[in-house]
Symmetry: C2
Subunit: 278 residues, 2 copies
Amino acid sequence: MTANAGLARLSLNQRTIRGATLPEAVTACVTAGVPAIGLWREEVAETGLEAAAACVADAGLRVSSLCRGGFLTGSTAADRAAALADNRAAIDEAAALGAPCLVLVVGGLPAGSTDLAAARDGVRAALRDLASYAGDRGVRLALEPLHPMYCADRAVLSTLAQALDWAEEFPAGQVGVVVDTFHVWWDPDLLAQIARAGERIASYQVSDWITPLPADVLLGRGMMGDGHIDFAPITAAVATAGYRGDIEVEIFNQAVWDSPADQVMTTMCLRYRELIAP
Amino acid sequence: MTANAGLARLSLNQRTIRGATLPEAVTACVTAGVPAIGLWREEVAETGLEAAAACVADAGLRVSSLCRGGFLTGSTAADRAAALADNRAAIDEAAALGAPCLVLVVGGLPAGSTDLAAARDGVRAALRDLASYAGDRGVRLALEPLHPMYCADRAVLSTLAQALDWAEEFPAGQVGVVVDTFHVWWDPDLLAQIARAGERIASYQVSDWITPLPADVLLGRGMMGDGHIDFAPITAAVATAGYRGDIEVEIFNQAVWDSPADQVMTTMCLRYRELIAP
């Protein structure tokens, strides 16, 4: 398909219009002139892997990422083995879908544990089990540092510097990082770490930081322009670092989810052109 | 007064028993054998500065800190001038109370602004106006990095590394830093930055990180042991860095505030002995 003017690198993360099936999300992209889509495993499974791949390919869309693998901090050996198997399955799915990367939300502290250092070491050990499996299939593991407010329960990976420390143990083709504005905008060291990241940047995701945070902090992401993030310097730093891939809009927000999908797509394209497009 | 066994360095931040007047909080400390107290300006004003100073001194308590100055990111010159005047008043109050440090919550983004870099520069400029004024009065400005989830609306100072970058522009006697477990526990660089801090550590504050976060994230602090923080390595690092001052328990939590103060004091002393006492 041909992207609408100014949207050549825009990707819809499909959870931004949660409730839409994968074929509906693909149609929404085509209608709006959005040339790429970020997929989620749950919606892919619902459609079926082969049908999902065909649907996206027939529409002429690029897949910018598959969300998500990770959750590698299980407390028992059986938990960890199950997580590794599930991540290998996710890598296979990413390969089948033509997704260049699998986004990893690494997992929080194991239940009942306060041993943050051990949880972090456990993730690094799991990456050693997964990195070449991914690279061999043309899929990059994309380590996503999550906002520190999720450190206990979602991701013990909390800064871009830490993600790069972990990624640099592996070839850049095997392990990269996600720069997601919502998670990293506050970081005093952000621009320096983006420069350091260079070719390690596997995905650039955008959404805004809104206040007050909602009661469910997982739904705190706003549409670009509705919050406090200055996107221009971050986008410029990502470009200077060499990233030329898709820019994915990923918004978890009840008000956005309650709005008609076509209206969300329209607003997203408008705000992308105004605030993000490099 | 004589501290109860094992409590020689424990300080009650008076907001942990919010609702108590300053004299009531002082009495609670004496009853529980807690030898120090962290005061708040609002409660001091309610009692009157001289009466407050006399009340604490007569009880034989140490003042561990005065909370708080800061909020230095006003959007107009008049706002910023008013903030500087208010901070000088707070420094005078700290001196009158015998508080070794004034805790600074530096302020969030000015209303309507997304210019995080400018807000941060503004705080550093304000510190240049305040540091020697504080030092001349025997009060140390204690820069408190707040959890990054407060970056937009409370404090653009987000990590201990950043606090040290700012503090190191001044003599250690003028500007130090606060290590507050709730705000910094997630930081992958924490132990290295505590070691770097050395004599810059002006205050060590403890409370726990609980999940799920409550709807009002300002009230997310838990009693030590109720959450996810492993205090031992942080306390050990603070000790190794050379800090020998009071250890302040500061908990903002509705359930704690709804409990009888004597019960909170008992639990606090118990948990301090179990989890914190160096």
